[in-house]
Amino acid sequence: MRILVLILLPWLSIFLQSTVFSSYTIKGTTPDLVLVFVTFFALFNTAEKGSGYAFLCGLLEDLYMGRFIGLNALSKGLTAYIVGRVQGNVFKENMFVGVLGVIVATVLNSLFLFLISIVVFDVFHIDTGMLHHILYQALYNVIVAIPLYVWYYNSSNSGVLKTQWRV
């Protein structure tokens, strides 16, 4: 069940982003639900597992878009790895951790997207419009992250996302 939910989350996120949230933007910016869930997963698991899951989620997004396949996979994978590295030192009971994690992840993910794009394609030029996008996306991500973190935290402790330990 846990695996099924973990597969469905990025799929549903892309669906919601492309239909519902794209109609309700903040200054033309949609939230990145995939990144939000990837950040939560990295916070509740190890850096290695987090980056692996994030890579696959980003790959799904890339395959859906059909352009620059690997760009989101790599940027999200690297972002989740960094988030996963610090997860052992934070109290996950505190919702502020989730919110802060999402803000940091949004900035890191955008940074990786820029860097990869500049190094590999030389297509993106950083302008103020892009910086606005990052700021508004961080804001939008936080808005959606607050209720989602409560659900994710509860599910990870006693719900469908709880890891089943085998003896």
Partner: protein, 274 residues
Amino acid sequence: MLLLVIFISLAVMKSTATQRSNITFLEKVIRDTYVPLQGGVSSIRNNWDGWTAVFSDKSHMQQQIKLLEAENSQLALENQSLQEYKQESFRLRKMLNFDNANRENYDLLPAHLIARSPNNWYECITIDRGFRQGVKKDMAVISPNGLVGRVGSVSENSAQVNLITDREMAVGAIIQKTRETNGIIEGLGDSNQLRMINIPYYSKIKEGDRIVSSGLSAIYPPGINIGTVTEVSREPNGLLLVATIKPTVDFNKLEEVFVITSYHPVEVFEEEEE
């Protein structure tokens, strides 16, 4: 292991960055799994106004509005081409040896927008017409208000349209009234703004000028509305001008588009001297 993954990712990224003739089977399958649900949500959203009108006993008014909107769209489309013909006839009167007998016309395939880009870095939409309905990669997409973009990739029942506001898009354009400037319209990743570059410093381009597609490409027919000039400035080198363009299409309210399914670029022949 990590380095290997990064290396493979970069290689795949590089190979899929350029124009591909077709997307892979996996990409088609993934995209088509979304189409039925996206179509459903799009249909609900489009009919939402109609439903609320039923509940508020304004169905007749709603019907009238829909009819008028459809008529308005039709008229806008006709007006757009008439404007172009007006300019053309004006030019033809001045040019005795001009022969444009091969002027093309094109077939339009109506399509509904069912989804938008799930992230902020790409400006694209998904339409409910795909390979089965005759849509092919690189076909131009228009709306009654003007140029929307071009088909980037096609799956069985849907197609992804890269909007002209996408950072990777470039469209040859001219000033509709004077026909003088062959500039290039670039997307800025912002649905409310475009940029026109490669404008010579002596150009008479000014605020309020209407910009249309030049037709100097095999993709976009000439005379399709693109936008209106809102600002003109000089590039740092001083030799070229750059203009900010407000698109005529409101990409945030786009619901229906037309795919140009048969377009052959104009070939202008000069009459051979006898």
